[in-house]
């Protein structure tokens, strides 16, 4: 005789008890799973996309300097580089060339970027997976680009990139500086913006201030400001979905409350019989605990697995318009799976524990009756 066998026996009975009320319990699991699925989907998505944004910015310079004209972003002349380099504390300044390219036939938007060191040289490109999927192009294929003046420039795919983050590489086309200028029409001596690296990150605000004073038509943007903006945007979007979700959460609370405030007369009768045939109050509570645990854990794992598939394999298809709608990302990308154990724990504690408690409380009330009441049932 052992405690393990005791619990195995009680669990065994809990399972057959659940099967007895098959329809009710299946409906419960479906509703419960849907709730966890939605909660977990939103959390997985917002966290994964925030993480993508962080990876995206990891290798970017601490500060970006843009030239503005009438409040709009304008090309920045290369003589600005020397002006900024002369500011004390600045380590290096690099002119960056990047832009967007719209491909009307595929209705896709690519990001053209000239990397610091492009090893393939003029006439070649390296493309992201998303671009490769959209163009159905692989290594060795020629890709025509329509230049700013209407002419076509054909570039050969030298590489299809894989990266830690698909956002980084998905819509990316890396190319040489001459090819970029030929397609975009960006004149020599001008860059899209400047990437500034500094010796001491603590001096960033001071240096930014100096840049604004020396070059009043520029706008220095600090990396941590971009990170904060991303986080705020996705937290806010996650918040919207959460607000919509509140109705589902409330429905679940009502359901849990319904369970907490009353057992059916059949359930009460069964508890009376169990007490009558020799079960202790604690045995009945263990039975109800296992019943609640089986329902909530099944729903929890199903919900989390479905959410994982939904977010990381099905591109968050159900909530895409709400969460990604602020800027349509062409071409399609898949988020790199990232799960924070803390979030899983949070979902667990917010759903499984209250439900299990909600199943035990009314049973505790019913189980504390005198077993002799069964004689009078």
């Amino acid at each position: 005789m052992s405690r393990i066998d005791k619990h195995r026996n009680i669990l065994d009975f809990a399972l057959s008890s659940l099967l007895r009320r098959k329809r009710k319990n299946i409906a419960l699991v479906i509703m419960y799973t849907s709730l966890i699925f939605i909660l977990a989907s939103v959390i997985f998505f917002t966290e994964a996309i925030k993480r993508e944004a962080c990876i995206l910015l990891e290798n970017s310079p601490e500060m970006i300097v843009q030239k503005t004209m009438a409040g709009r972003h304008d090309l920045i002349p290369d003589n600005y580089i020397r002006s900024i380099e002369s500011i004390r504390g600045v380590q290096s300044v690099r002119g960056r060339l990047w832009g967007y390219y719209y491909e009307p036939t595929r209705r896709a938007n690519y990001t053209l970027t000239v990397p610091e060191h492009f090893s393939y040289g003029t006439g070649y490109i390296a493309i992201g997976k998303g671009v490769s999927r959209t163009l159905e192009a692989g290594k060795g294929d020629l890709v025509p680009f329509r230049a700013y003046n209407g002419s076509y420039v054909s570039l050969e795919v030298a590489d299809v990139m894989t990266a830690e983050s698909e956002i980084i590489s998905s819509d990316l086309v890396l190319l040489s500086e001459p090819d970029f200028r030929e397609i975009s029409g960006a004149p020599g001596g001008f860059f899209t913006d400047l990437g500034v690296r500094v010796r001491n990150a603590k001096e960033l605000p001071v240096i930014a201030d100096k840049i604004r004073r020396v070059l009043p038509d520029t706008r220095p943007i600090l990396k941590n400001e971009i990170v904060k903006t991303y986080e705020t945007i996705f937290d806010w979007r996650g918040g919207i979905v959460m607000v919509i979700l509140m109705s589902a959460v409330f429905a679940f609370v009502i359901l849990a409350w319904d369970k907490a405030t009353g057992l059916s007369s059949e359930e009460k009768r069964e508890i009376g019989i169990l007490k009558g045939i020799g079960w202790e109050t604690s045995d009945v509570l263990w039975l109800k605990f296992w019943e609640g645990a089986v329902v909530s854990l099944t729903s929890f794992f199903l919900g989390v697995i479905l959410a994982y598939v939904h977010v990381f394999l099905a591109s968050f298809i159900l909530f895409e318009p709400v969460l990604k709608g602020w800027s349509v990302l062409y071409p399609e990308f898949r988020l790199v799976p990232f799960i924070d154990p803390f979030q899983i724990m949070a979902i667990f504690f917010l759903t499984v524990l209250p439900y299990t408690a909600a199943t035990i409380v009314p049973s505790w009330r019913a189980a504390t009756i005198d077993p002799d009441s069964v004689m009078r049932l």
């Binding site: 052992s2 405690r3 026996n9 069964e270 019989i273 020799g278 202790e280 004689m375």
Partner: protein, 228 residues
């Protein structure tokens, strides 16, 4: 041996609906005997069985089971005694619907922590004795009244109790099945069990297996008749 000393049981004490079910009952029940408590409805038969079977506590008085005073024991110990010493056969059978006959029989022994397999073998053996082997996998709602009663007795025997308590066991049985039931209880007595029955059915109180008939009226033990 079971001994009741000046037992009193009051329900809803102090309330307008206060009800005295048992008024100062004293009785000695020897082991390995069949005792029938007879009397009209509401006379206190079921309450006395509940008190003896550790299902409820007396308002005053003492009950000893095999020399152990049980009235002052906390619930846990009381449950333990109830599990090990008593097997219950209820008037309405009280089998759990939706699960099999076998599971119903095994149910009282689940919390004891016996291995599932050995428990299953034991329950199968008991059901075989009662001619219910073929019904083991059936749901209890498909059983006839007589079969349900035998399942209920099988369930009462799973923990191998010394005492079988049966409350109005023939209430839902016809005469033939009632006599069959008394045969079964008689056989259990021969095996060494003590049988306590509450019934107002003459088929029970006049059964040749009965050793002691206790007449109860208005919560008072009126007459104790020794048969042999």
């Amino acid at each position: 041996m079971i001994e009741l000393t000046d037992i009193r049981k009051v329900f809803n004490a102090g309330n307008p609906n206060e009800f005295v079910a048992v008024r100062g009952a004293s009785l000695v029940i020897a082991q390995n005997r069949m005792t029938v408590f007879k009397g009209p409805s509401g006379s206190g038969k079921t309450t006395i069985l509940s008190l003896i079977g550790c299902m409820t506590r007396p308002t005053s008085g003492r009950i000893t089971v095999s020399g152990r005073e049980i009235t002052s024991l906390p619930e846990r110990f009381l449950t333990e005694i109830r599990q090990r010493t008593f097997g219950f056969v209820f008037q309405q059978f009280h089998l759990l619907k939706g699960i099999t006959v076998l599971e119903n029989v095994m149910l009282p022994a689940y919390p004891s922590g016996q291995r599932h397999l050995s428990l299953r073998e034991k329950a199968t053996g008991i059901l075989h004795l009662f001619g219910l082997s073929a019904k083991m996998s059936s749901k209890v709602e498909w059983l006839s009244g007589g079969e349900a009663q035998r399942v209920s007795i099988s369930r009462a025997l799973i923990n191998d109790p010394a005492v079988i308590i049966a409350d109005e066991p023939t209430a839902h049985l016809d005469s033939k099945l009632s006599l069959e039931l008394m045969e079964i209880l008689g056989a259990l007595k021969r095996e060494g069990k003590t049988i306590l029955i509450a019934s107002h059915d003459p088929l029970v109180s006049e059964s040749p297996f009965v050793d002691l008939v206790v007449s109860i009226r208005d919560g008072l033990l009126k007459e104790v008749e020794e048969r042999k």
